[in-house]
C-alpha cells in the first residue's frame, strides 16, 4: 500500500534553531511531491512542488529537497511566525486519467518556535 509518513509528529525549536522535517514515501512511482503549511483552523497554504530527485526549492527560511524515497523541509533560523503544521503530499504515477490529480497526504508535523 502506498504510504506517506511524516516525522517527527511534533517539533519544538528555539527561535533561530535550524532543523529539518522529514517526509518519507513508499510509493510505486512519484509524479510530484507537495509541501503545505497549515495554521490552526485554516486551510493548507501551498509552499512547494518537487518533481524529481535532486530538485530543491527555497522560499524565505524554508528549503525543500527531494530524494528517491523522501523529502526534507529545512527551516533555517526559524521565527515564531513559522509555527504551524507542515503537510507533505504525493501525487502518484500509478493513477491515470482523472485519478492522476489525487494527492495522498501525510499526517503532518506540528512545528512550534519558541521566542
Amino acid at each position: 500500500e502506498d504510504q506517506v509518513t511524516q516525522s517527527p509528529e511534533a517539533l519544538r525549536l528555539q527561535e533561530g534553531e535550524s532543523s529539518s522535517l522529514n517526509c518519507s514515501y513508499t510509493v510505486s512511482g512519484l509524479r510530484g511531491l507537495f509541501w503545505y503549511r497549515q495554521d490552526p483552523g485554516k486551510g493548507p497554504e501551498f509552499l512547494f512542488t518537487l518533481y524529481s530527485a535532486g530538485e530543491e526549492k527555497e522560499k524565505e527560511r524554508l528549503k525543500a529537497t527531494l530524494t528517491k524515497k523522501e523529502s526534507f523541509l529545512h527551516i533555517t533560523a526559524p521565527k515564531p511566525e513559522d509555527s504551524a503544521t507542515y503537510l507533505c503530499a504525493v501525487q502518484l504515477l500509478a493513477y491515470s486519467g482523472a485519478g492522476s490529480y489525487q494527492l495522498t497526504f501525510g499526517k503532518g508535523t506540528k512545528l512550534s518556535v519558541i521566542p
Binding site: 509524479r31 485554516k42 493548507p44 497554504e45 501551498f46 490529480y101 489525487q102 494527492l103 499526517k107
Partner: protein, 117 residues
C-alpha cells in the same frame, strides 16, 4: 492569486439533516476536490471533479454526494448527517497542468468546521 471560498466557516446541524457545503473558485480551474480532516487521520479525499458534471469517488465517499453544475462551483452534500461526520471540511481546486508542466497544484479554501449534534 488563487481564491477558493467556502460558504460557511462554522456550521452546526442535527442528526438526519441534509447538509450542503459550497465551494467556489475564481481561477477557472478544471479540478475541484473535497476533503475532510480529522485529528490523527490527516486529510482524506471524499470526492473530486475534473470537469463540469463529472465526479470521481475518493477514499471515503460513503455518506456523501457531490454536485458540479458550473465550473467554478463544487458542492458537497451530506444526505443524512450523522455524528461521525463532525469534522473540518476542506475544498481545493487545481489546474489540470501547472505552468511548470506539473499536474495540478491544489489550492485550498479556509475550511468549514461542521458539528453534527
Amino acid at each position: 492569486d488563487v481564491k477558493v471560498t467556502q460558504s460557511s466557516r462554522y456550521l452546526v446541524k442535527r442528526t438526519g439533516e441534509k447538509v450542503f457545503l459550497e465551494c467556489v473558485q475564481d481561477m477557472d480551474h478544471e479540478n475541484m476536490f473535497w476533503y475532510r480532516q480529522d485529528p490523527g487521520l490527516g486529510l482524506r479525499l471524499i470526492y473530486f471533479s475534473y470537469d463540469v458534471k463529472m465526479k470521481e469517488k475518493g477514499d471515503i465517499p460513503e455518506g456523501y454526494s457531490v454536485s458540479r453544475e458550473k465550473k467554478e462551483r463544487f458542492s458537497l452534500i451530506l444526505e443524512s448527517a450523522s455524528t461521525n461526520q463532525t469534522s473540518m471540511y476542506l475544498c481545493a481546486s487545481s489546474l489540470r497542468v501547472d505552468s511548470g508542466g506539473g499536474q495540478g497544484t491544489q489550492y485550498f479554501g479556509p475550511g468549514t468546521r461542521l458539528t453534527v449534534l
